[in-house]
């Protein structure tokens, strides 16, 4: 089928990160520093992306600030007329470096917080980062730059959701993104400790809905729910290879962050093929594009153009079959797998595993 035009490119510039968040969305198998693409290769990718029709560039990692050539990459993106969004922990940023990034053309900074409570935040990150983020927030406000505060929520911190919203108001951010953990990568490893109860999830929805109403016109509040409790699956990435492309630190192009968990997919490298060829012809991008791969009940479902059958990686991780209906869907014949996880009686959460940095393999 003829693909639509991609709107966003997610550039994972590095997998190195000073934080060790227990819910990191990076894959368990990460790319080492030695395999990272140089700035020239990234710049060619950005220019190709803009040619292809991409409008927004999301610079992420790992921690993109770990790259000294970040400024050069942002300047090239802006020159190619891309909207640039920096997704960052803030570690490695100071007033001078931020001024240089803004000067290079940065449009939006999305600063991650782990909690409103300093000790709890540092426990999640495995490092003392919270105070640095508070200080940076004040520096960010000196610039004409869109400022998003992002907080990932889960069983251990949901009781402080009102305090997190109050912190966002105090720091006068433009946008607050509250995202429940999505269970891939490191988060899946730590699911027992992170998955909220149904009551916690429902309460979080009420709190967010009322905050969103109260703050309308002042602060945009976006919310991502935990799909294990949803009735229907999320439209993951807006549909497989429909509007988003991701390039990893080594130059592999993927339809999403987690696609590496699907066996048998070969991800073409932007250093071997141009981006348009990959978008239009790479077998990994074609694999679940459109509807022909869909099994029942998706194939004849009225919602198939809304949720695209849900998430292929989640289907793989929970059922072992990447072509199955996403089992979070209440219509899935395998939904009992998800119910088995969500109905488990709450126990004392086990210790979690911290994300470790990529190391060069021998």
């Amino acid at each position: 089928m003829t693909p639509s035009v991609p709107l966003s490119l997610i550039a994972e510039l590095t997998h190195r990160c000073p934080l060790h968040c227990v819910y990191c969305s990076n894959p368990l198998e990460m790319q080492a520093r030695a395999s990272e693409m140089p700035a020239e290769a990234w710049i060619r990718v950005l220019e190709d992306a803009a040619q292809l029709g991409v409008l927004q560039l999301h610079l992420t990692g790992g921690e993109p600030l770990a790259r000294p050539d970040l400024n050069e990459i942002i300047a090239a993106a802006r020159k190619a007329n891309l909207y640039t969004n920096l997704i960052t922990s803030g570690i490695g940023l100071n007033a001078d470096r931020l001024a240089a990034l803004v000067n290079a053309g940065l449009d939006h900074i999305q600063l991650s917080f782990q909690d409103s409570d300093e000790q709890a935040a540092n426990d999640i990150a495995g490092t003392r980062a919270h105070a640095v983020k508070l200080e940076l927030s004040r520096i960010i406000k000196r610039h004409r730059l869109a400022f998003t505060m992002n907080i990932v929520v889960h069983r251990q911190n949901l009781s402080r959701l009102p305090a997190m919203i109050a912190l966002a108001e105090e720091l006068t951010v433009d946008r607050l993104e509250i995202a429940h953990v999505q269970y891939y990568g490191w988060a899946l490893r730590n699911r027992e400790a992170l998955l909220p109860s149904r009551a916690q999830w429902e309460q979080s929805l009420e709190i967010i809905t009322s905050a969103r109403d109260r703050l309308k016109g002042r602060m945009r509040v976006d919310f991502v729910g935990p799909d294990y409790y949803a009735k229907y699956p999320k439209a993951c990435m807006g549909g497989w290879a429909r509007s988003v492309m991701l390039v990893d630190p080594a130059g592999r192009a993927l339809p999403c962050h987690a696609a590496g968990v699907i066996p048998g997919l070969n991800f073409d490298n932007v250093q071997d093929h141009d981006l348009r060829w990959i978008w239009e012809h790479s077998p990994a991008f074609q694999k679940f594009r459109g509807e022909s791969w869909m099994p029942e009940p998706c194939r004849s479902c009225d919602r198939r153009a809304q949720d695209f059958g849900g998430c292929r990686c989640q289907a793989m991780l929970l059922t072992g079959n990447p072509s199955a209906t996403d089992p979070v869907c209440t219509l899935s014949p395998m939904h009992e797998i998800v119910e088995g996880i969500t109905n488990r009686p709450p126990e004392a959460p086990p210790d979690w595993v911290y994300r470790i940095d990529p190391v060069a393999r021998a």
Partner: protein, 93 residues
């Protein structure tokens, strides 16, 4: 000020900007979002300079499009700006 009124002087908030791309047409790029601009959307936003009031923006559009029913322009401008305001895209002074 958080309510949009005829005396508000709207402009785009930081990190929200117009773009025209050969493949995608006129769009408003915002944090984590893309709004497609159809009809007079782009023109309205070009008048949102933080100086003109909503009333002046309506007048400007009415002068630019003399053949269009002025009351229709007024309601289109108000609806459009209110929608953008709800999305947190505008700064009001």
């Amino acid at each position: 000020m958080s309510q949009l009124s005829s005396a508000s002087q709207p402009k785009l908030r930081p990190g929200c900007r117009l773009s025209d791309s050969p493949q995608q047409g006129d769009v408003l790029l915002i944090p984590e979002g893309i709004l497609r601009l159809v009809g007079p959307g782009k023109k309205i936003l070009e008048y949102c300079d933080g100086q003109r009031t909503v009333t002046e923006i309506v007048h400007g559009l009415q002068q630019a499009f003399p053949s269009v029913d002025p009351s229709r322009i007024e309601s289109e401008v108000n609806t459009f700006l209110e929608r953008l305001h709800q999305k947190g895209v505008l700064e009001l002074s």
